[in-house]
């Protein structure tokens, strides 16, 4: 990795020095997240419950960030949830894979006590709202894998909006 682009010598001051650096890592998901990812590969959301406060975390990281104790009880969550808050992305950026504008939302899965981020599609962007009920749309069964890419997006499931009080704690 010593072969940076050669800079021709000039009489002026040296204003730039290229020192290419690249490091590769192997990521360890951990016990709890491995369980979660294996659930995703089967098309289901698996959370874990804190034995102290009873809250259910998804994706689980193996501990309750509030109590600092191990989460041991596994909880299978539903395929449906509630949009707690959202934004509409109108700005292009490098590496963007979805056509703008699109909706990025915090989704509280039924039975979970923490929201996570997902895309909302199959709805005009000006119709998204807090409290909207949504469901996960998965890739085809033979495409499922150990990645969040297994969840294509969420879409409205037609149920009446959830009352604000039901999700205000998660904003």
């Amino acid at each position: 990795m010593t072969d940076g682009p050669a800079t021709p010598a000039t009489d002026g001051p040296v204003t730039k020095l290229a020192t290419p650096i690249r490091i590769e890592y192997e990521y360890t998901a951990g016990l709890a997240q491995s369980r979660f990812l294996k659930g995703i590969a089967e098309g289901k959301f698996l959370g874990q419950r804190c034995p102290a406060c009873g809250k259910v975390y998804v994706p689980p990281r193996g501990s309750c960030p509030t109590d600092g104790v191990a989460t041991t009880d596994e909880v299978q969550l539903g395929n449906t949830g509630t949009v707690t808050t959202y934004c509409v992305v109108n700005v292009p950026f490098q590496g963007q894979s979805i056509e703008i504008p699109y909706i990025c939302a915090q989704i509280l899965l039924d039975g979970a006590n923490i929201a996570f981020m997902g895309l909302i599609q199959e709805i005009p962007t000006d119709q998204i709202r807090m409290g909207m009920r949504v469901e996960a749309v998965w890739v085809d069964k033979d495409q499922l894998g150990l990645s969040m890419a297994s969840v294509k997006y969420f879409r409205p499931n037609g149920e009446p909006d959830a009352p604000y009080e039901s999700f205000q704690e998660y904003l």
Partner: protein, 373 residues
């Protein structure tokens, strides 16, 4: 010889220590899952919880796992509700302990949790450690820490201060002692003659003179004054602690001595008022990843021949980055807490060829109130 600095020291002690098993590769658990049992143990062994802690300070580096702010998510192992007073150093946990000790000196808090974690396995450790060098003229050549330590070892030999057999003797003793340490990673009973049959990795360093690559975690609880005495029958009092750093430029240093270790030891009051006399503590835990470095640090600390050096096996038996330094303090403190030692010294290092060094003096007797360091 500069005199030991005079300052008022609030008595602060190590009252609890816990560590994970040291392993070559922790490939099932994430950082939080590695830390949680350690934090649980360091609390439960003295009957406290996180809510009893006045401060939390951690040591780790994101470079090891390649994840930004990994120290923030590691806090999930402690649980941060209600919000707590917390800090982090991108260094070995020994320096996190120094920050906690400093805050305890101010007198506002009586307890602190110090923890650290290090996964050396997710990437190529030799390349990662090259990145701590000067980024313009050294790092682009990727000199790895083994090569740099070999330069240092060769300088020791050239100066007539050590031989390859001395390195082998250090390694043989360390790994034999590690047989008694259930958390050690490399433990075996081999004599120096047998070890001298190893191949060179980078001459003059043979395989046995190198530390293992280790994943691990450790934690310590510090407490001040009466609180320490309430939590532990025989606390390990910190009678002095200091750390010093040398220049980044390896060529500007005398690699055969460690002036920063010597200065930190003076600052920690290790030499007392006697100046040049040898130090006759019961135990010394030295963070010297390469066998050749133990010889340098031992000399810098003026340790008497009678001192038991690295009875845990030291960094040659387990060397989790960001952890092995705090483990030295923990192991030294454990010898005092279990009654097998009355005075101990712990040392931690950072950077290439012992660039930065921390010295922590420990004793069964608290430092005299209002006395010198």
């Amino acid at each position: 010889m500069s005199p030991a600095p005079t300052r008022t020291v609030r008595p602060v002690a190590v009252v609890s220590f816990a560590q994970s098993k040291s392993v070559r590769r922790e490939d099932h658990r994430n950082e939080v899952e590695m830390l949680m049992p350690v934090v649980t143990e360091v609390f439960s062994s003295i009957g406290v919880t996180k809510n009893d802690m006045g401060f939390v300070c951690s040591g780790s580096t994101d470079y090891l796992v390649g994840a930004p702010f990994s120290f923030v998510s590691a806090l999930d192992a402690v649980g941060v509700w209600p919000p707590m007073r917390e800090s982090h150093v991108e260094m070995d946990g020994a320096w996190a302990l120094y920050e906690a000790w400093t805050l305890l000196q101010e007198g506002e808090i009586d307890t602190a949790l110090v923890y650290c974690f290090g996964r050396s396995s997710p990437s190529d450790l030799q390349r990662i450690l090259a990145l701590q060098l000067d980024p313009y003229y050294m790092a682009p050549m990727w000199p790895d820490p083994v090569a740099l330590a070999a330069l240092q070892a060769q300088a020791l030999i050239d100066a007539g201060k050590a031989t390859e057999r001395d390195f082998a003797a250090v390694a043989a003793r360390s790994r034999r002692d590690a047989l008694g340490n259930p958390n050690a990673q490399v433990a075996k009973d081999q004599g120096p003659d047998e070890l001298l049959g190893d191949d060179y990795v980078v001459a003059p360093l043979r395989r046995h003179a190198l530390p293992p690559v280790t994943d691990g975690a450790a934690a310590i609880v510090l407490a001040a004054g009466a609180r320490a005495e309430a939590l532990r029958e025989r606390p390990a009092w910190i009678t002095g602690i200091d750390h010093r750093i040398e220049t980044h430029a390896l060529g500007a240093r005398d690699l055969t001595t460690s002036s920063s270790t010597r200065a930190a030891a003076e600052g920690a009051g290790l030499f007392g008022t006697s100046g040049g006399a040898s130090v006759a503590v019961d135990v010394a835990e030295l963070h010297t990843p390469f066998a050749s470095q133990e010889i340098i640090v031992r000399d810098a600390l003026r340790l008497a021949d009678s001192v038991a050096v690295n009875p845990s096996g030291g960094a040659l038996a387990a060397n989790a980055l960001m952890v092995a330094g705090l483990v030295r303090i923990g192991e030294a403190a454990a010898r005092i807490m279990d009654g097998s030692a009355s005075r101990a010294v712990a040392h931690a290092t950072s950077g290439p060829c012992l660039q930065q060094n921390l010295v922590c003096a420990l004793a069964a007797e608290p430092p005299a109130a209002g006395g010198g360091a």
